[in-house]
Symmetry: C2
Subunit: 232 residues, 2 copies
């Protein structure tokens, strides 16, 4: 049985790291990704929400995400196989993830297809930049995210499903209020069981000037695994 | 409103042509593809059911399909925009597409998400190689395909939805009974309204020795559009 994790949120979970900037992760026959409701061997990009082949390194494209190195850490520490369900979508605000939206419903439907052949073990979430443009939106984020977490757990019938978040880049030139969103996520962890936040301390921004580097995505995924171990 | 077409079947609809072997198709701001239930500008590969980056030209990978040149022919002949819903899955037999299977249910769910923001105009189908290994399977194919067509139309509530098939490669060294499957599809067109078959006459096989060349996929998509015009 495959142990499956949902990828959700916006571009830094979808993954924008440039393929080729880091060594590929060998799936070792134990890391899979969902395609058309079925499991196929993992290769990157796992979450192709945007164009894939882009020769210009400064252009936005689907690429390296935290999910592959999370999965590698998982197989290095567990028996069995792991699967990734790609549902993240670039540029999306928390309002676009509320129950009943197309992104929420797509996540639930894809996950239910995956449940025919796997056990759902957690959600890998990175999102909030689109809610960091104004102080008002940033302050409202944690409450809206709580609705998403409970909504997913309810629809899947998994009330204790681990929900693993990642911090947003502090002091990002494009989003002035990420610090408020980060504080909100840390506070949320004290309120909502089985949630945790991976630190993005020491992050670096890649050649598109917006997203993390491929190297940092690799490190970030390992941190996601580290905090997951404590709440699973 | 986007005029949407479903991509379904196996690898020759998913697309295995090598990107770079043909000029890219400009989406002209009028060709879209479904990602997470939402429309994004089309770029290839449209249907990433398998690994994408493969340096070895002989390796199976997601790539050029008939869908992009079909869409280009559509915008050249119609006002408005066109969208592509990728649901094709390599190596799949007709039994894997019957109502209630994971591939069928994924197609219905993805299409229903797309229906929130588009009108469904047809199904682009290429499949049957996996049913051409034995004479018995090849002879049973048309009957089972008929079930798929009526099943999709019923689930979507679109009884007249055009269903556009493509011929399988004649005399393919790997699948000895493709000619029977092709005859079955042509016969089906006389029985099931709003169906048609695009010819694969003059096809060429690419460097993986199994699938069509990128150049032929481009030509094939134009032929799909030509026959669609007659049954829509």
């Amino acid at each position: 049985m495959i142990n499956a994790f949902i990828m959700a949120g916006q571009s830094n979970m979808a993954g924008r790291g440039i393929i080729g900037d880091v060594p590929p992760i060998d799936n070792e026959g134990r890391i899979f990704m969902l395609r058309n409701g079925k499991w196929v061997p993992m290769s990157e990009p796992i979450n192709p929400d945007r164009a894939i082949y882009v020769s210009d390194r400064t252009k936005i494209r689907s690429g390296i995400s935290p999910a592959a190195s999370f999965a590698k850490a998982w197989i290095d520490n567990n028996e069995g196989s792991v699967g990734l369900i790609p549902c993240a979508d670039g540029g999306t605000a928390i309002d676009e993830w509320q129950p009943g939206t197309v992104l929420f419903d797509n996540l639930i439907q894809q996950t239910k297809l995956a449940m025919r052949s796997s056990e759902i073990c957690g959600v890998l979430w990175h999102q909030g930049e689109s809610d960091s443009k104004t102080e008002e939106a940033a302050l409202a984020h944690a409450g809206k995210l709580t609705e998403v977490i409970y909504g997913i757990r309810e629809e899947l019938g998994l009330p204790d499903l681990p929900f693993i978040m990642g911090e947003l880049a502090y002091k990002h030139k494009r989003w002035p209020y990420t610090e408020i969103v980060n504080k909100g996520m840390h506070a949320l962890c004290g309120e909502v069981p089985h949630t945790c936040v991976a630190s993005c301390e020491g992050y670096e921004i890649g050649p598109d000037t917006v997203h993390f580097t491929a190297e940092f995505y690799r490190e970030f995924g390992v941190r996601y695994y580290g905090v997951y171990e404590k709440v699973k």
